[in-house]
Subunit: 158 residues, 2 copies
């Protein structure tokens, strides 16, 4: 409110200064929104992979329907349009809230390739998850590998 | 670590006590995982509805491709299997971290109907979003209405 008033009341200098503040605030909130969405997306992968992983490890009884549903979720998530996620200024170089390394932006073609590998692995899992525990366990290797390959290259180590 | 040791070293009483602790921890963490997934799911709706809403309000220039992608994301999200989200003991009666009212569990049929209404509204939006700003704006009413109807009935007021 006081910012709007200063634009109304002020001259060119005040207007420019306010414009810079607004631009910074806008840029920041766009990056924050993108980071939040990326992390939400990862949380949903994690939730569904947790279902499959629990069965694969024998911590939870194998359930073909639940396994298939979790695998279908992962596949659908991998196919969401994610072009809004990778806004400039939202890497670990820019923000505290993210583990997304700057290499994502410099190696975007490889990054996208690794995303495609995830969709491929999720497709395999979607076909396998309902076909018995062994099929699920075998596909977990490919799916876990696809997750890990991207994390290793593009996520800040803990 | 010390819990495992106490089981190894202790007698039946210690083992039972540890078992109760583990069961409580497991129950709690299942509810927490479900809450986190629900909120992540909502964050992804919000991110994509933000794209559409920004255009509808004129805050962001209309872009048919981006609008279509956001609408397709919302539709795909609405179709994810969400049966793992509504675990017993994860309402506002049980946990601090959630705004999910107990009525979800007592009125599950109506709750599911409202979810179906969201999918219907998202389907309309997916068809409309790329057809121009006016079509998008018209569909925002149905989509916003579907969001709001569920929030009003089943989300704790702020």
């Amino acid at each position: 409110m006081s910012l709007s008033r200063s634009i109304l009341l002020g001259g060119v200098a005040a207007s420019l200064a306010a414009g810079a503040v607004l631009a910074a605030a806008h840029g920041n909130s766009a990056a924050e929104a993108a980071i939040k969405a990326r992390q939400a997306h990862m949380s949903l992968y994690s939730f569904n992979i947790g279902t499959l992983g629990g069965m694969a490890k024998g911590a939870v009884e194998y359930d073909a329907a639940k396994a298939s549903a979790a695998a279908a979720n992962i596949l659908a998530l991998s196919k969401l349009d994610q072009s809004g996620y990778w806004v400039e200024g939202s890497s670990t170089d820019d923000m505290m809230e993210t583990d997304a390394l700057p290499a994502i932006w410099t190696d975007m073609a490889d990054f996208n390739k690794k995303m495609e590998n995830l969709t491929a692995a999720a497709t395999t899992m979607e076909g396998a998850a309902g076909q018995g525990l062994e099929a699920l366990q075998t596909s977990m290797k490919e799916l876990g590998g696809a997750c890990g390959a991207c994390h290793k290259a593009y996520r800040k180590p803990e």
